[in-house]
């Protein structure tokens, strides 16, 4: 099975060129042929939002080469560490720099491995995505070809995607949500309009108009921006749906955008997923949103939810809160920590403990209420707050006692007894280390971090300070 369904096409807004189905298949086959000749091992594909970037991903997928989608903004140092750990057969669209030891630069702009130390990936393995967040070494979620295709078709089904649909690249392909927009549209013969400037760029909205986009994917902070822009869907007559994933959207914004889209004859689809599920697990039917505005919907076709209780048993009884467990064909094979991990078989058997807390209602709709571990989100990226505190302590700015608390789409870090300029430097240092905008880390000075009787940090009290 292919990701490129009948009628699938790419519109490259920059050049004005449209690749119809046959041309797209031809371009992808050409890329696939070139990639097939590269040395054994995973392929690292740097995937900016442009036509070559999208063809690079599709070419690797159709060549049945396991491909890791890499953020082109990843620093040379971080990329070097990943290369050392995973020994890819090649780095596609390599940075303009000298290749690392054991690699040579070829004439196509790639780094090709010359040393014989690659590991053959498992034959089912198709896509590797770095799981965002952890301040430790990033690892890859291993997504099989079957999982990617199953999820692409399930998403297309719940959103009712067909050949007339067009989606712009509002999110980058290395981000699981961005990848799933590509997959779900192309698999159903719809079109992708490739335009990189994002939701605040004039060229983006020109492309939405000119290419007749029908659906736009956005994460919570995009919705904050769309509100600021006083987004009016009626300016884009073909626009039918907004989709939302990447963390919980504030209830006021759910209500507001539901109303805006319905007034324009469309709908808002609130969704739930994780990179580990390729990535979609649930989608709220737009027409039901007003009735259950706090729900992320039922499991997508082919999937099901259970709630695991403290004693390890699992239930689907309504209104019982526990860890959300998802079962479906789109669950990852497991993580890969290094090159040897690429060869591993499926370790999860289609069962994903999500780490989220939640409950089901009598109709099987899921309500997510929190996290088992302390997790914050910064601009849609999941961060382990304990790791983040550790990162703040190791900035060499003299921060010793620090407590991180999630606040909407950023994290507030209370640092004990530090000066205002240190707070600012710490925020910048965290932004640099985690490759996220520094404004996502609101470092504040506090005289004393409050403690519970147990001696643990009183996070509840700190949350109330925000």
């Amino acid at each position: 099975m292919t990701l490129i369904g009948d009628g699938a096409r790419l519109v490259d807004v920059a050049s004005g060129r449209t690749l119809g189905h046959d041309e797209l298949v031809g371009e992808v086959a050409r890329a696939a042929e070139a990639f097939s000749a590269l040395p054994e091992g995973v392929l690292f594909a740097r995937v900016p939002i442009d036509l070559p970037g999208v063809l690079r991903y599709l070419g690797a997928f159709e060549a049945a080469r396991a491909v890791a989608l890499i953020d082109p903004a990843l620093s040379a140092e971080s990329l070097g560490k990943l290369i050392a750990r995973f020994r890819p057969g090649a780095v596609l669209a390599a940075p303009d720099a000298l290749p690392p030891p054991g690699y040579r630069a070829d004439d196509d702009g790639n780094w090709v491995r010359t040393s014989p130390d690659g590991v053959a990936p498992h034959p089912d393995l198709a896509v590797l995505l770095a799981t965002s967040g952890s301040t430790g070494a990033p690892h890859f979620a291993r997504l099989s070809r079957h999982a990617i295709l199953a999820n692409a078709h399930a998403i297309a089904e719940v959103l009712g995607l067909g050949p007339d649909d067009v989606a712009p690249t509002s999110l980058p392909p290395h981000y699981s949500y961005g990848m799933s927009v590509l997959n779900s549209h192309l698999a159903r013969g719809a079109a992708i309009a490739i335009e990189p400037s994002g939701i605040l760029g004039r060229p983006f909205w020109d492309a939405v108009s000119d290419t007749g986009c029908t659906s736009i994917a956005a994460v919570p902070y995009h919705y904050e921006m769309l509100r600021r822009l006083d987004f009016d869907p009626s300016r884009y007559p073909r626009l039918r749906t907004l989709t939302q994933a990447g963390g919980r959207l504030r209830p006021e914004l759910v209500t507001e955008f539901d109303a805006r889209m319905r007034a324009a004859g469309g709908g808002l689809y609130v969704m739930y997923g994780q990179t580990e599920a390729s990535p979609r697990m649930a989608t709220m039917p737009a027409e039901m949103l007003a009735h259950k505005p706090d729900s992320v919907g039922p499991a997508i076709p082919g999937g099901q939810f259970g709630i695991q209780l403290g004693d390890g048993t699992e239930t689907t009884h309504p209104k019982i809160t526990g860890e959300v467990v998802y079962r479906g064909p789109n669950v990852m094979m497991g993580y890969a920590e290094d090159a040897a991990g690429l060869a591993l078989d499926d370790e999860l058997g289609g069962v994903l403990p999500t780490g989220d807390l939640g409950y089901l209602d009598e109709d099987g709709f899921l309500f997510v209420t929190g996290r088992l571990k302390r997790i914050g989100k910064v601009f849609g990226n999941r961060l382990n707050l304990d790791d983040l505190e550790q990162a703040a302590r190791t900035t060499e700015l003299g921060i010793e006692i620090v407590a991180a608390v999630p606040a909407d789409d950023k994290v507030v870090l209370f640092a004990e007894g530090v000066a205002a300029d240190v707070c600012k430097q710490a925020s910048r240092a965290l932004g640099e280390r985690l490759h996220l905008h520094a404004s996502g880390f609101d470092v504040r000075s506090i005289d004393v971090v409050p403690l519970l009787a147990s001696g643990k940090i009183d996070y509840q009290a700190l949350t109330e300070l925000i």
């Binding site: 994002g198 605040l200 004039r202 404004s439």
Partner: protein, 77 residues
């Protein structure tokens, strides 16, 4: 203070740039700090500093320091 000087200070503060940054040649997405998140911070800071309200088109068209300067002058004109 000259509008240009004040706008320069707004850019430096909102985008967290160095005092000696080459603000006059800045363009949206031309530097890491001026991404979509930085853009929203910048728009809010311009509105605060000059007591103006930017509409949808003005937010989308605010693609460089120069455009911002012309816009602020026009709004205050």
């Amino acid at each position: 203070m000259e509008i240009e000087q004040r706008l320069r200070a707004v850019f430096v503060a909102a985008l967290d740039l160095g005092e000696d940054a080459d603000v006059e040649t800045l363009e949206y997405r031309g530097i890491e700090e001026w991404d979509s998140v930085g853009h929203m911070t910048l728009v809010a800071a311009i509105e605060d500093e000059f007591d103006v309200q930017l509409d949808t088109d003005q937010v989308l068209d605010l693609s460089s320091f120069k455009v911002a300067l012309d816009l602020v002058r026009q709004l205050r004109g």
